[in-house]
């Protein structure tokens, strides 16, 4: 099989069984790989009504046909599981070099089922797959885990080639907002996945592979990738994205007043403009790229990665803090403990609004709260359970700004209408990551015209890119057709754009029906504050957009 490896690695932690199965070309063709294939396997094998922390829950990691091939931005490995935060299906995107290494080890899919009795570590080196004890890693922070694992490998080159995916102490305690970390970078959309790793007592997965990935038309593939790199050098929008990362959007979002401030309770003050990208640029010490990504949008600081835009705003302005270096510290704590930074920022903002020991703008207090919740101290309170549980505990659900129990990213849906529809309709709870309409929407944020089509288009395109193994950030400037061409050259198949879009729609439907069967119905709605408490005289017109959206997707309208 060209492009795919055709192999599935199944690891049963309860019975310590390791099995290598095969996956047919026909299935790959229908679900592409990555998010699509993982969702297909997950929805077939897992009963939607199970508890997300039950032994029956599985974690499915899948690479796409372009992962690790050298296709531009082809670094993605999708992680599908049932999330304890939202109780929905969820799909995280493992970036950096993990996906490429898993593919090089010879596997398209890695299925993890059952729960181990004591802490373990899954080691994959081509066919040599082992379940090893991990008592020495239990309790360690994520960067420490990587150091310990790498130091134990005597060959320094092999140590560097080994890619490590791990959970921090928060994941071990199965906190609902725990995420998974690779090379100091959290898995995108990974909130909740860390808890499933923790309950399975799976501290880390380490991968190293030496296998070839065969391609159908090598020369055509090289030409397609070369053309994309050339295009990148010329396209203005991509050049800017490459330079500023997701912070490219910071200024335009602040300008229209959509930057979440003090738990989305009021408009950000003028001081927010001091967070200009020119200023932030001084904190950056260079760019980092995931595997085979010529864009290299990640920024490095002395302490590791610089938070991406939503994490930066959540841990900063959303808590009333306008102090980038404090935000970097807070982000670093989240990484070390394996906590989702966006959810943590939203949780702190909730605590601040409730006035429980913290008030807006308290830098040291919020850092201490994050540390305590990472450590599992009492002082951390309910922060590590997520903003939803926290607000419910205090019987103040009105301060929870989220959908399906997951906090919204700090882009105000009252100003940017389309993103509100995306938050409401995303199958994984409120996130912009599965439908990054901000790329196009900022030119016309207030109107609701054509927003349903826009949201659906971005959702489907993201699902497709995540399925073929390409980072969806490429939508900042590339057309989907560029990658369909690469896909066709790599696999030797002849995918047409319309056909591919159908696959994207089908993935959404699979996820949606899983949620429905799990009992998540009538939850495609925004918090009341977004609908009734105007900012700049505007509220979200979700209702109208949702109606149009349901018609487009062929879903029954909610009452």
């Amino acid at each position: 099989m060209d492009g795919w490896q055709g192999k599935v690695l199944r690891v049963d932690l309860s019975n310590r069984l390791i099995k290598i199965e095969s996956v047919s070309l026909e299935v790959c063709q229908r679900y592409l790989g990555g998010r699509g294939l993982a969702t297909k396997v997950f929805t077939e094998e897992v009963n939607p009504v199970i508890d997300s922390l039950a032994e029956e829950n599985k974690i499915i990691l899948a690479t796409g046909p372009l992962t690790g091939t050298g296709a531009s931005a082809g670094s993605i490995c999708s992680i599908v599981t049932k999330s304890p935060l939202t109780n929905t299906i969820t799909c995280g995107q493992a970036k950096m070099h993990f996906g490429a290494e898993l593919k090089a080890a010879g596997y398209d899919i890695l299925i993890i089922e059952g729960n181990a009795k004591s802490p373990i570590l899954l080691s994959i080196q081509d066919e040599n797959v082992e379940i090893l004890p991990a008592d020495h890693l239990w309790g360690e922070t994520t960067s420490k885990v990587e150091d310990i694992v790498r130091l134990a490998i005597s060959d320094p080159w092999k140590a560097r080639e080994t890619k490590i995916l791990s959970v921090g102490p928060a994941g071990e305690r199965a906190e609902p907002i725990a995420t998974v970390i690779i090379d100091g970078l959290p898995v995108r959309n990974g909130v909740g996945i860390g808890a499933v790793f923790g309950i399975k007592k799976l501290k880390a997965i380490i991968v190293k592979g030496t296998k070839d990935i065969t391609l159908a038309h090598g020369e055509g593939f090289i030409n397609a990738v070369s053309a994309s790199v050339e295009f990148l050098k010329e396209a203005e929008s991509l050049r800017e994205f490459s330079e500023l990362g997701t912070h490219l959007l910071l200024k335009p979002i602040a300008k229209i007043g959509a930057l979440g401030y003090e738990n989305l309770s009021k408009r950000a003050p003028e001081a927010i403009y001091s967070l200009s990208t020119e200023f932030l640029g001084k904190l950056w010490q260079g760019d980092r790229g995931c595997f085979a990504c010529p864009i290299a949008c990640l920024k490095q600081t002395e302490l590791g990665f610089f938070p991406e835009i939503e994490e930066f705003i959540s841990l900063g302005p959303l808590c009333g803090i306008i102090n980038p270096s404090a935000t970097i510290d807070a982000y670093k704590l989240c990484i070390e403990y394996g906590l989702d930074a966006n959810e943590m920022g939203a949780g702190v903002a909730c605590v601040m609004e409730l006035g429980k020991d913290l008030s807006f703008g308290e830098t040291d207090g919020s850092l201490e709260a994050i540390r305590a919740s990472g450590e599992g101290d009492e002082a951390g309170g309910l922060l590590s359970k997520g903003a939803f549980y926290l607000s419910r505990h205090f019987e103040r659900e009105d301060v929870f700004m989220g959908v399906k129990r997951r906090s919204m990213p700090p882009f105000d849906p009252r100003i940017i209408q389309g993103i509100g529809l995306q938050y409401a309709t995303c199958n994984f709870g409120a996130t912009h990551l599965t439908g990054f309409t901000l790329i196009e929407e900022l030119e016309d944020p207030y109107s609701i015209k054509n927003k349903a089509i826009l949201v659906k288009r971005y959702q489907d395109q993201t699902a497709i890119l995540e399925s073929i193994g390409v980072c969806p950030y490429v939508l900042f400037g590339f057309n989907l057709s560029t990658f369909i061409n690469m896909l066709n050259q790599a696999t030797g198949l002849d995918f047409k754009e319309e056909e591919i879009i159908k696959i994207g729609e089908h993935i959404y439907d699979l996820e949606h029906s899983f949620n429905k069967n799990a009992g998540i119905v009538n939850e495609d709605r925004l918090p009341l504050r977004m609908l009734s408490q105007p900012i700049n005289g505007m509220v979200s017109h979700l209702e109208e957009m949702l109606k149009e959206y349901c018609t487009l997707r062929g879903l029954p309208s909610e009452e």
């Binding site: 090289i222 790229g289 595997f291 290299a296």
Partner: protein, 136 residues
């Protein structure tokens, strides 16, 4: 371009610009073994050492490693570097720059002579690898 046709070229490496994306590794492996990708077969490798990425072009195979000068640590501005990690020779001590199955050492051949220059440069967007033409 015609006048330069028979000039030599070299690869200029600026490690400060490297983002560690390793697109060069895939370009190299794809160009040398068409229809297959495997970074282990690449003649350029990006190595992380002392907090920086260093693109290394595979040099000639060295068998005499008894008196190897690279087995030392280098300290610059308080940063410690393992010189062996920054050495671009293929040698019996190293697991890189060797075919993963046969163990045959690999060496950069500038992709033969191509008008557009070596494949790694073409895919390096960061500016870490650039083409330098030398007039003869």
């Amino acid at each position: 371009m015609k006048n330069n046709r028979y000039s030599m070229y070299r690869i200029r490496v600026d490690s400060n610009k490297c983002t560690g994306c390793r697109h060069c590794e895939t370009a190299c492996s794809l160009t040398h073994i068409l229809d297959k990708v495997n970074y282990h077969r690449s003649r350029i490798r990006v190595v992380w050492e002392g907090g920086h990425f260093f693109p290394l072009l595979a040099g000639p195979y060295v068998s005499n490693i008894q008196e190897c000068a690279s087995k030392k640590e280098l300290v610059i501005d308080g940063n410690t570097y393992d010189q062996c990690m920054l050495c671009r020779a293929s040698c019996p001590n190293k697991s890189i720059f060797k075919e993963p199955d046969s163990g045959i050492p690999l060496k950069c051949d500038f992709c033969g002579y191509r008008e557009e220059g070596p494949a790694c440069i073409k895919w390096c967007k960061s500016g870490a690898l650039t083409l330098v033409r030398l007039k003869q």
